[in-house]
Amino acid sequence: MSLDQIRIWLDERLSLGSVSEIARKKEVPVHRHSIWYYFGGMTLFLFTVQVVTGILLLLYYRPSAENAFESVQFIMTEVKFGWLIRSIHSWSANLMIATLFIHMFSVFFMRAYNKPRELTWLSGVGLLFISIAFGFSGYLLPWNEVSFFATKVGTDIAGVVPVIGHSMLRFLRGGDEVTGATLTRFFGFHVAVLPALATVFIGVHVLLVQLHGMHVPRRYEHNHGYMKFFPNFFLRDLIGWILAIGVLAALAALFPWELGVKADPFAPAPAGIKPEWYFLFMFQTLKYIPARILGIEGEVLGILAFMLGGLVWVVIPFINREPEQRRRILIFNVFGVFVVLYIVVMTIVGYLA
């Protein structure tokens, strides 16, 4: 059977012609800000790196308080290329969050969430929260000292939420304290619940992008060209992905991910403890908030403020219904710049402190 015959056989059953017709028609606008179109695809690529390396780590990882740390140690020291796979998993996770942030802020500043793309924004923000949950749950899995305290603090923050806080804390921890029960739960979230959610959200997100096509900023609406997605844009994407593999391999080789000290529920928090960088700005803020503000516990106020901020971020397309108005542009750009500056400055301060 020749290759052509196989193609015809499949085409008769799956009507591949219509799919390739869509692929042939798919185009990407070309203008001064086209560079930002690459970051969504890059985030998706790093996610697939996570899936592949994650499945590999599953072959050796053992999710219990007694075995988790030792099994990661085993991966790092005994398993051939174990250090590489785990380091790439950790580095890729961090780069994925970084490209996701770049992608999100580029959408924000180009006002690409405008009608009819509100649902694309919502599914994207959903993916942001899923990614953060991935990061938070995966961080605990090596069961080391820093991850133990990060989880204590993070889940305690969930407990601050009025009314449902305490049940949420118990749901997350699998009891009142961070124990092996928490580790088992986080493992389940990390390898089953979140991947299932991510698959659905990515599916919707990518489908919506196909439905609406790429957004073009107002300024370039009438003066921009087009590029074929296949092969022109796709090959450029590919170059980016190959570069990413190179960067990941270099980072994993030069800065292998630390394992640290095994968690001990009866040891004080180590000096200089810090969360992952994408939580650092919130962490640093919590340090500055005084114990009491107007008779309310400062931390409660701070955490509720961050939650409110997150909610505002989710509903941006519905607050800003006419984003191309001159005054609106100014207000939302100032707001966006303030958010970016706040995150950047607090992250740097957190590192230097």
């Binding site: 009891g175 040891a267 004080p268 180590p270 200089g272 340090k287």
Partner: protein, 155 residues
């Protein structure tokens, strides 16, 4: 007209009520089925309360392992406690759980304070929150020495 319309109308009137009754049956049984499926799942997700015998007193340390101006974490039931000995030799014991966000505190000989590394919370030797974000003092325990044993008791 009336003979045609009359029974027709009454039929029209009758049919929806039977349908409504069946809809009601279907709806409630669908609802009950969903309830029967989701109730156990929701109960399963919430972890069971584990009742532990509250430990009221524990030998936290031997006197000789605690020189002046030092501290030690000890296990009090399933929670950590901290035993501190001031430079003058006085013994104090507190819960080691920071009142801010649940981290475990430590004694700092250089500042002579109880300190939480997570968010730089500070407590004095009486367990009072004197700096940083902690909103409340640490829970205090009673300390007694029995021979060489340092015994900590819940107040």
């Amino acid at each position: 007209m009336q003979t045609v319309n009359g029974p027709g109308r009454s039929k029209e009137h009758e049919a929806p009520s039977r349908r409504r009754f069946l809809d009601y049956l279907l709806g409630t049984s669908a609802f009950a089925t969903l309830g029967a499926i989701f109730y156990p799942i929701i109960r399963f997700i919430a972890p069971p309360q584990i009742v532990e015998a509250m430990q009221n007193s524990v030998v936290a340390a031997k006197l000789n392992e605690l020189p002046p101006n030092s501290g030690k974490i000890f296990k009090f039931g399933n929670k950590p406690g901290i035993l501190v000995r001031s430079a003058s030799g006085e013994l104090k014991a507190f819960s080691a759980v920071c009142t801010h966000l649940d981290c475990i505190v430590q004694y700092r000989p250089d500042t002579k304070q109880i300190w939480c590394a997570c968010h730089n919370g500070q407590y004095n030797m009486n367990g009072q929150n004197v700096g940083g974000p902690p909103p409340r003092p640490l829970e205090e325990y009673a300390v007694n020495t029995r021979g060489d044993d340092v015994v900590v008791t819940r107040i």
